[in-house]
Symmetry: C2
Subunit: 318 residues, 2 copies
């Protein structure tokens, strides 16, 4: 089959130990021998066998990534960030994309069987924490990516409080005084409220569910600005607004969150708070690697950025 250390050793009349040492750059092996060995390894296209290696080192250089299905480019870019960082560290990324909780179980089983050195979790699995017990019992390092854990594991997440401040702050700076916060992320909402209160503005209407939005807007004609939980959510809000004959941004300004690809197309032109998606993925993997190497790791908050487009404008003078 493929060439092994033993084979290289045989061909060069040295011992397998020497070959292993040389290939791992150990300074004990003579320059000349080392060069010779590396040259042959290169020529014969030697690839270290991960089984033999893992059996010995008890490390797989494999990371698991578990995520619920996520539409849009959000998941895509995070995963790309994770994957590229993993690859740069010679780590493989074992992925399980699924929302169904029975499937999560089987994914975790596979992660264990394949001896992943660590696991990154996106999306919120708090509902089935018991399924992670086995993982925890094995003390496999875990990092939460774009979700916040209850405390046992480090996480990386956009600074949602600051993001909430950016969104509401932008609306306020345009002159809006009566806002509605359509935000079911606690921290984003807190950021909204913080800046609203700082400016001494009236308490905003809150409808985390965003359901009866049209009715609420009708009942509160003073409202001119809305913070949305996400850009996807902003689409629904836009529909609700338009359904009662109001225009964006002339009558109502909407600030989204995430900066998805569609936010910049003509139909939407959403002002939004961009999340550094790829960087989040990179950070998550970086943190996992550190955890694996035994270091302590602190959670990280990533910087959000305001992107102003055309869904926000100064309120009409009434």
């Amino acid at each position: 089959m493929s060439v092994t250390i033993k084979e290289l050793a045989r061909l060069l009349n040295v011992s397998p130990a020497t070959v292993s040492l040389a290939l791992n750059g150990d300074s004990r092996v003579a320059e000349e021998t080392s060069t010779k060995i590396k040259a042959l390894a290169d020529e014969l296209d030697y690839v270290p066998n991960n089984f033999g290696r893992g059996l010995q080192s008890r490390k797989s250089r494999l990371a698991g990534y578990l995520a619920g299905s996520v539409t849009g480019s959000f998941f895509d870019l995070i995963m790309q960030g994770i994957g590229e960082t993993a690859a740069a560290a010679d780590y493989g990324l074992l992925t399980g994309i699924t929302r169904a909780s029975e499937k999560i179980d089987s994914q975790l089983k596979i992660f264990l069987e394949k001896n992943v050195d660590g696991i990154i979790l996106s999306s919120n699995y708090s509902a089935h924490v018991e399924q992670f017990e086995k993982v925890e019992r094995r003390k496999i390092p875990m990092v939460f990516c774009s979700t916040q854990d209850s405390g046992r594991h480090p996480f990386v997440i956009t600074d949602n409080f600051k993001g909430g401040q950016l969104a509401a702050g932008h609306l306020i700076s345009l002159g809006h005084r009566y806002l509605a916060c359509c935000n079911h992320d606690k921290n984003r909402l807190a950021g909204n409220l913080d800046v609203i209160r700082r400016h001494g503005l009236p308490e905003p209407v809150q409808f985390p569910e965003g359901k009866e939005l049209a009715a609420i807007l009708k009942a509160n004609p003073l409202i001119t600005g809305i913070t949305a939980y996400s850009d996807t959510h902003a689409i629904k809000i836009k529909h609700a607004v338009e359904s009662i004959g109001l225009r964006i941004p002339e009558d109502i300004s909407i600030a989204g969150f995430d900066d998805m690809w569609f936010s910049e197309i003509r139909e939407f032109k959403f002002t939004t708070v961009a999340q550094p998606k790829k960087e989040i993925g990179q950070a998550a993997m970086q943190m996992l690697l550190e955890l694996i190497s035994g270091s302590d790791v602190a959670s990280r908050f990533m910087e959000p950025a305001l992107v102003v487009r055309e869904s926000t404008a100064p309120p009409a003078t009434k």
Copy 2:
């Protein structure tokens, strides 16, 4: 660390061989012994070590998946299909999401190191086939998923010819006679042309690039229907159409392809040809498993389905 076969053997005063045999359901081991062993394994949460196993079997039960970054839900669902099918067969899915060709190299290297039993390729890497030479030299089974290979490897793909027929056929059945085919997929275009010619209609304008669409529409006022390469592409076409003051579908009908999530929202309501994305992923993994087990595998064409929404309507009577 975690419990091993040896440990189980020691605790039960049997040999490791017996434990292994029992756990693998070999009929040679006595019913009673087998039950005892399985019970303890269960209790102590035994997980077979993939290194030991792989070293012996030379199989990793790992599949590689390489894809370019793809926006929207397309990639997402395909990957979910692959992953779930893999998990059901106790296979782990090693993923590399990247477009950059240097990164592809490093991903493939990792696939080799981790001893993947097979590889699924999405998106088109024909540009750097030389990088796959090592993979081919090692005779690692490969399946192309949603791309077509030159012939050496089986693929699974939507029947694009039929999809093209569906799109154009739909426009024709609405009464359109002068079409434009904005389709840079050869087979989809061929499907378009086939049905157009069958109906004896005039040759359509073709602008695979879709660049100067506005100008072309102005120059050809007879055109009332357009087939788009994808739904994403349909957005651009819609913009071009609207930029010269034409309305959809009153003046121009557009048929998309893919059935992405955004195609059904109010701003678009695209009539489109749906691809069975998840099924494509499932089929790809299924095929790979068969290839791994040594069977011969034929390429598969998956059935597209027409989804009629509001971007198409009968042409205005002129």
